[in-house]
């Protein structure tokens, strides 16, 4: 449709990746992927929950309260990961001016905010029995809270601007500026040695966690990943339909269905 945008040229050059960057081509692809991701999410979640509650043993220090880990850690990981992905899409859209990028960023934000909220909530609930407090203004906790505000700011900004193209470009600027916060969250426990524990799982050393516990955590993390993909894709499909309401292919879809 639009001659200037990258994806329009892509077809001719036969670059498959770029071709799927066109909303029209991506829409059915996303539709095909969603059931798979959703199914995998359910499978991993059921497996993860089973391991979490019926295989993983009691912890030697924390007793049963540690079972919050199976939600908290995947949620915390997703909160940071999704932000980076969102910012990457946003930057991509800002530079290359592809239409799908901005839609993907907007589609990821609510799910990211959701996981951030869950990480905060479960962290607080876990903190009470273990540390003895719901909340401290510790670097990890504060920066995670800022992450939530950044997500909310992104959502508020993009919904406050009603021209979608402008909205996603403005959101992109905010998302990119906010990326600085992610390494701060990640390294905060190292830089400020305060209340939150250090990493149990890291690339550089063996995990300091019993294997069954670790398995449960990974299963739940996988479930969170799959869920995020499914949710973001589902949302992006709605966004594509909303934005391209008047495009021929959408109207034909309505007529043909």
């Amino acid at each position: 449709m639009k001659a200037t945008t990258l994806e329009a040229h892509a077809d001719g050059r036969g670059n498959a990746l770029l071709r799927f960057a066109a909303p029209q081509a991506f829409f059915p692809l996303a539709g095909k992927m969603i059931p798979w991701f959703a199914a995998l999410a359910v499978v991993f979640a059921v497996g993860g929950l089973y391991v979490s509650f019926f295989v993983a043993p009691t912890d030697f220090q924390q007793g049963e309260s540690y079972r919050v880990i199976f939600i908290h850690v995947p949620a915390a990981w997703m909160s940071m990961f999704l932000y980076v992905v969102m910012a990457a899409w946003a930057a991509f859209g800002l530079i290359l001016n592809t239409r799908l990028s901005g839609m993907m960023a907007s589609a990821i934000a609510p799910t990211g905010a959701l996981f951030t909220f869950i990480a905060l909530w479960t962290g607080a609930l876990w903190g009470k029995p273990t540390w003895g407090t719901w909340w401290v203004w510790d670097a990890r906790l504060t920066s995670e809270l800022i992450l939530l505000f950044l997500y909310l700011g992104f959502i508020a900004l993009t919904t406050a601007i009603d021209d979608p193209r402008r909205a996603e470009r403005a959101g992109a600027v905010l998302a990119i500026v906010g990326v600085i916060n992610v390494p701060i969250i990640y390294f905060s426990v190292k830089w400020w040695n305060t209340l939150h524990q250090g990493a149990s799982v890291s690339l550089t050393k063996a995990p300091s966690m019993a294997a069954t516990m670790l398995a449960g955590m990974f299963l739940m993390a996988l479930a969170a990943w799959m869920y995020s993909f499914a949710a973001a894709l589902w949302r992006v499909r709605s966004i594509i339909l909303e934005r391209e309401r008047d495009a021929l292919w959408v109207r034909e879809r309505g007529g043909g269905a």
Binding site: L94, T142, I146, F149, L150, L152, G153, A156, L157, A160, I161, R165, R166, R169, A170, V173, L174, I176, V177, G178, I180
Partner: protein, 222 residues
């Protein structure tokens, strides 16, 4: 290049002065907010001394934020901003000029006034020094980050509050280290690390903020 920058700063300063009492208003707002707290919380001298750095910094932050709204909005409303976008000067230069002018009209006066207010809270001598220094390093960061927020919310309705929403989270680190440094000094510890972190923020936002503000401005018109 420098001449152009100077002329932009001069224009904005002249405009602020013309809007009678703009600077004065900021200062009075700052003073009032700082004064509100003892009223809201109740005047216990000990309590006040502990709270002082935090209160002064929060007040500075709110004062800076309130004045942000006019950084681009009035130029946007009357069409001057679109002239700036297609001006012979690079947009980056204009944005930097406006940020400098904003700081000169809001951050700098606050910084100069803060020691006096600190005195009122019975802060020790060196803590006052650190308070001033932290504001001197921190308030430019407020102007820089604020410019991005102001550019992003241009022409968006519900501007004021949305701007606050975008900008305040990014202000949090500045607040923590600014107030933290003063508190550290008041307790006989060095404020060095806090101040150097503030400096780091300043350096980073000097690089990122003007770029982001420029992009945001162009986006506002696209």
């Amino acid at each position: 290049m420098l001449r152009a920058l100077r002329s932009i700063v001069a224009r904005d300063l002249r405009l602020s002065l013309r809007r009678r009492g703009d600077v004065l208003n900021h200062l009075v707002f700052f003073v009032i907010v700082v004064t509100l707290f003892p009223l809201g919380v109740g005047p216990e001298p000990n309590l006040m001394r502990i709270m002082a750095p935090g209160i002064v910094w929060v007040a500075a932050l709110l004062a800076a934020m309130l004045s942000l709204q006019r950084l681009f909005a009035s130029d946007y409303a009357d069409g001057t901003l679109e002239q700036m976008l297609i001006s012979a000067q690079p947009l980056g230069l204009i944005v930097v000029g406006k940020i400098v002018a904003h700081w000169l009209m809001s951050g700098l006066p606050l910084t100069l006034l803060a020691p006096v207010l600190g005195l009122q809270f019975d802060l020790p001598q060196q803590a006052l020094g650190v308070l001033t220094l932290s504001l001197l390093i921190g308030t430019p960061v407020l102007s820089l980050i604020g410019a991005v927020g102001a550019a992003l919310t241009l022409g968006v309705r519900g501007e004021g509050v949305l701007l606050a929403l975008l900008v305040l989270p990014l202000y949090i680190p500045v607040l923590i280290f600014g107030a933290g440094g003063v508190a550290a000094m008041a307790n006989g510890l060095g404020a060095g690390p806090h101040l150097s972190l503030l400096g780091a923020f300043l350096a980073i936002s000097c690089v990122v903020a003007p770029w982001a503000a420029c992009v945001a401005l162009r986006v506002a018109y696209d």
